[in-house]
Symmetry: C2
Subunit: 173 residues, 2 copies
Amino acid sequence: MMVASTVLLGITSCNNGSKSPEGNTAQTKTAETMENGVPKISEFPIGDENKGFEQYFTGKSWLAPLTSNKQLDLPMFNVTFEPGCINSWHSHSEGQILIGVGGTGYVQERGKPAVRIEPGVVVEIAPNVEHWHGAAPDSWFSHIAVNPKPETNKNTWLEPVSKEDYAAATKVK
Amino acid sequence: MMVASTVLLGITSCNNGSKSPEGNTAQTKTAETMENGVPKISEFPIGDENKGFEQYFTGKSWLAPLTSNKQLDLPMFNVTFEPGCINSWHSHSEGQILIGVGGTGYVQERGKPAVRIEPGVVVEIAPNVEHWHGAAPDSWFSHIAVNPKPETNKNTWLEPVSKEDYAAATKVK
């Protein structure tokens, strides 16, 4: 499946261009609903495997940039996590906004109950608040991550989430 | 259908909370898939009818705030347009990002071809670029609108889009 980024006369449009024609065999549908080894859980592009940050993730994740206009300067990425994959405890000095677009995941701030994220759920994480996010144990998960004020928004990466803490957090339905 | 905004210990989570239980009658399903008179085209909340801006729209639209954290200060709204409803030519002094989440719509910059927006399509509109956006003639449409730098991001509203220009623009498939 092709990921198409179209720059059209000043409007930057990013789209995975995926549509499922009717009447295919089950086998063809399975092939069509995979992108870069990821099952189709939203209409947003999957992008490449997130090798640059893999040291901070417990499993495989994928990263698709959705914005590029330097005048707007508002980085947005679709981040996709395989089931059970989450990132380490971390914080952003200018905060972050997560927009659930596919599957089921969680975000948890240090010392607080986890919040379940499904498509249509938007979560704001305030500056310098330690948190982690990622997939449910049994579900692929995609969220758009919006990182405001990129010039000054620094990530601080901390320790991995313990298996016990992840298990306890993801009991939240 | 209830729109639930949950402020949970510092994480602000906004969700329409809508799920369709199995085994309902068709009649019940129809009722469940409407929110504030709008058919269900995404998992994002619909919000209230957009009376504050109706003078700049050709028909009915709805506005649901998705963010509220003052430390992040990044306004995002889910905007829903009834079929054929678009806004007037306008510009934003700090630009705007549109994220397609439901149905089919269009955005057009002055003097350029329209760009079709469906779920998964992200469009960046540079500062001070005159444009309009809204629904296709035959489809409801929802996009998330992100307005960066709200303190200085001023809207300039101009004339309505002519029927001829809308008809020509929306021939783009």
